[in-house]
């Protein structure tokens, strides 16, 4: 049986030849992402903004009356609601954000939620409540804090571990790649104004995990080759390492994609955002391992001696005592 080989043997793509322009583009993308996040802002879901999100099925209608719902709930005076189809055509999710003035009132979110639901139930028959999320301003604030803390702590601890296992340059490189991945994901959420919820934090962490996996595989090969080819110029060595691990990179990314795409297409509507984010992250993470994590090693001055034990003062004294030069 002839086996499938996605990447032909002896593939040798000069990935790092254009490292400078790619780096410039990447840094511009990171900057653009942050500019988007800061100007357009993230479309916080109720987890982070507070307020209420209710999911309803209009069981007597073919299609949910979204425009009239928008008018009715907009008229309640809590600002513009976000109303989206959620699953089937007669299912909607209605999101009402907590007004800023009510953020410190603990019961405000529940009160708004009750009003929204009673308004809808009084105008339509047989509305089934599929789900409901109500989060008060204070709790939402805690979620924001905890999410940022979890992300920062995870990124730092991971970089430290890589520093310990490899060399400080690798730690910096991994951290840089992670910053790149997280920034671009955030930028994408800001650009398309997709709902940013606690689940998306879980997705970002999955992306970090995946991207890191990739980075470590490439780094591991670089370390190995640094010991093996003591005299190879670094750019060439990096290219070799990336090419040697390319088959694995393609294969793993592809298997993850084919596991995730069905989840995106047929999975529950409530997982859509999370799965979409992870799929996006697979591309971003793979790219960053090759074009962010590897070239930075050149600029940070990694060389073959990085993994050769350094002679200590005691060793030197020993050597001199033995009369060796």
């Amino acid at each position: 049986m002839r086996l499938l080989k996605l990447v032909p043997d002896d593939t040798n793509i000069k990935f790092l030849k254009y490292r400078a322009p790619f780096y410039v583009i990447s840094i511009l993308l990171i900057a653009a992402s942050w500019a988007l996040v800061l100007t357009k802002g993230l479309n916080y879901g109720v987890d982070f903004a507070g307020g209420q999100e209710v999911r309803l099925t209009f069981s007597e209608l073919e299609e949910a009356p979204i425009p009239s719902l928008r008018e009715q709930i907009g008229g309640l005076g809590f600002g513009d609601p976000v109303i989206q189809r959620f699953g089937a055509a007669n299912q909607v999710s209605i999101r009402v954000r907590l007004p800023e003035s009510a953020e410190s009132t603990p019961g405000a979110a529940t009160a708004i939620g009750n009003q929204v639901i009673s308004t809808i139930e009084s105008s339509y028959d047989n509305v089934v409540r599929d789900g409901n999320d109500t989060v008060s301003g204070k709790v939402a604030g805690e979620f924001r804090e905890k999410a940022v803390l979890a992300l920062l702590a995870a990124m730092l601890a991971i970089s430290l571990y890589i520093w310990v296992r490899f060399e400080w340059q690798f730690g910096v490189g991994a951290l840089f790649a992670l910053v790149h991945d997280v920034s671009l994901t955030l930028g994408m959420f800001a650009l398309f104004q997709m709902e940013f919820s606690l689940q998306i934090i879980a997705a970002i962490l999955a992306i970090i995990g995946y991207s890191l996996n990739d980075t470590i595989v490439v780094y591991d090969r670089i370390r190995e080759n640094l010991k093996k080819y003591r005299n190879m110029p670094l750019p060439e060595l990096l290219d070799l390492s990336v090419n040697e691990t390319l088959a694995r990179t393609v294969m793993t990314s592809l298997t993850l994609l084919i596991a995730l795409v069905p989840l995106l297409l047929f999975g529950p509507a409530s997982l859509f955002g999370l799965v979409a984010a992870i799929i996006l992250g697979i591309f971003v993470g793979t790219y960053s391992s090759v074009y962010m994590a590897a070239p930075i090693l050149i600029w940070l001055g990694v060389n073959s001696n990085s993994f050769i034990p350094q002679e200590t003062v005691a060793d030197k004294q020993d050597r001199i005592a033995r009369g060796e030069s």
Partner: protein, 532 residues
């Protein structure tokens, strides 16, 4: 690397089979096959987002506990001074600035008063509950210590949790989870509940019932502006009552509380056909109520629930039987809710719903069905790709993948963890990690063969060289998972749990188990060529 003595094989299979056995009850529970009752049945709990149900986070305001405590202290101080013989006269009582202040009228009584206050101030624990000081010879101030307030909040939350439990039990809901969280919060999780409104109404009602005498000397114009005469308080009428929108002045002291009850029932007033709540006092409460009504015949008294006046009937005659009827424009439902709340006791502090998540059971079931379908399709595609790419090694990888899923479920069941919707994403990621480990190993074996190593050496080296990256990657992911669990909340934790357990099972199955299988095959078949 490829040596597997018999004892090691037995161990590995034993671990695998035990973990898989633990997954069986969870898997069978979704079919019609019954797990024998005699056997232990560890289960993976489905999160509320999958099973349907309500998650309600309640929060108390510690300030309210402190205020309540100050009020109680005032009453204790007045009682102690009144009961002292000879009576100690005090005046100028104030409760501003979170402290209690009062004057002893005669300097001669100061030492005696201090003596009487000491037991109140010290509490019964190891900590001092109040700071007592005397200024200008006769002015006493009692300031709560922070330890004292902390103790009071803890006590209040403990009894609030008990009250919440009683109220939820009275609804007959199955398997509610009620947990204290942090200093001032209570988490309530009720699976499979269609409509949480009733539950929320029940938990949102403090049910603090008070009977207080109406201050008939208060000027209506003052009351309307919210100005209370000295020694009185102003309460608004409750919504739905005939006087809704107006307020009533009542005497601050001398009333009684409705916490000494033996029973409360919803009923119907035969004359007005209105829903009412009948309460029965215990002996002590009944005696107090009898005294109050005897001493104040022909005066109105207010029935106040949670700071709102329900009604202010006239006391026509002393009520000695120890029972009373409360009317206040109730519906049958609200009267029933009040009866439950009064039976279970008043909450020592108001609880506010600060987070609520409800998922209808249908949506949860639909999520599971769709999630399963998607995972099935995904797994199938992965299997095809793996076998097409790595042949026999792909079959081993697929078998490892199947074991991985079962073991992961089994271990989650043993630790009684909860599978949530984000947890399913964690599942997929774990599968990805397991596949990745095998991809790394198999690609490495290919490479080693290409470099001309013989079959056994190539396999051995493949595992050895690939393991380094696999372990590094899994350890970093483990670090991330633990941090997620520590700092994360809600859905993030559900994700972290699956991730952490999955790292162990995926390394175990994808690295250790496949190596055992490959080693066995190499020994049996002694292949000269590897199709990988």
């Amino acid at each position: 690397m490829l040596e597997f003595p018999r004892w090691k094989k037995i161990w590995l299979w034993a671990i695998t089979l035990i973990a898989i056995a633990c997954a069986l009850p969870s898997i069978l529970s979704s079919t019609s096959v019954r797990w024998p009752d005699a056997l232990p049945d560890p289960m993976v709990n489905l999160g509320l987002d999958l099973a349907g149900g309500s998650h309600i986070l309640l929060e108390a305001d510690p300030k309210q506990v402190a205020e309540q405590r100050l009020e109680n202290m005032e009453e204790s101080v007045r009682a102690v001074m009144r009961q002292a013989s000879p009576r100690i006269r005090i005046g100028d009582v104030s409760t501003g600035n979170d402290q209690l202040g009062f004057m002893v009228e005669s300097v001669a009584d100061v030492d005696r008063a201090r003596e009487l206050l000491l037991p109140l101030v010290n509490g019964n624990g190891m900590t001092r509950e109040w700071d007592l000081s005397v200024v200008d010879e006769t002015r006493f101030t009692l300031e709560p210590t922070s330890d004292g307030i902390d103790n009071a909040v803890t006590d209040a939350m403990d009894s609030a949790t008990e009250v919440v439990r009683k109220r939820i039990d009275s609804l007959g809901t199955r398997e509610p989870t009620i947990i204290r969280q942090g200093d001032t919060r209570i988490v309530v999780q009720v699976p499979g509940l269609q409509d949480p409104e009733q539950l929320k109404a029940l938990l949102g009602q403090t049910a603090k019932l008070e009977f207080k005498l109406v201050d008939q000397n208060a000027l209506p114009s003052d009351v309307d502006q919210g100005i209370a005469p000295p020694g009185s308080q102003i309460f608004p009428y409750a919504a739905g009552t005939p006087f809704e929108g107006s307020s009533l002045a009542v005497r601050r002291l001398g009333g009684i509380k409705g916490d000494q009850l033996t029973n409360a029932q919803q009923g119907v007033d035969p004359q007005t056909n209105e829903a009412v709540v009948s309460i029965t006092f215990d002996q002590q409460g009944g005696a107090k109520f009898a005294k109050l009504t005897t001493e104040n015949v022909n005066k109105p008294f207010a029935i106040i629930l949670d700071g709102k006046v329900l009604s202010a009937p006239n006391i026509n005659e002393p009520i000695l039987g120890g029972s009373a009827q409360i009317s206040g424009s109730f519906t049958t439902d609200s009267a029933n809710a009040l009866a439950i709340s009064l039976r279970s006791g008043a909450l020592p502090v108001d609880l506010t719903v600060v987070e609520e998540r409800t998922v209808g059971p249908d949506l949860g079931a639909d999520s599971i069905r769709r999630g399963m379908l998607a995972m099935g399709i995904g797994s199938l595609l992965v299997i095809v790709l793996m076998v097409a790419s790595y042949g026999r090694f792909g079959v081993y990888a697929t078998a490892a993948l199947a074991l991985n899923v079962l073991m992961l479920l089994g271990i989650m069941a043993v630790f009684n963890t909860t599978l949530t919707l984000p947890g399913i994403a964690g599942f997929v990621l774990t599968i990805g990690a397991a596949v990745d480990a095998n991809v790394l190993i198999n690609e490495r074996i290919r490479e080693e063969r290409k470099r001309g190593r013989r079959v056994v050496a190539a396999v051995e080296n493949g595992y050895k060289e690939a393991s380094r990256a696999i372990y590094d990657a899994n350890i970093t992911n483990f670090i991330a998972g633990v941090l997620l669990f520590i700092f994360g909340s809600g859905p993030i934790r559900g994700f972290a749990v699956v991730l952490i357990i999955g790292l162990f099972t995926s390394v175990f199955t994808a690295v250790v188990m496949t190596r055992m299988w490959v080693a066995g095959w190499l020994r049996r078949a002694r292949p000269q060529e590897l199709n990988v």
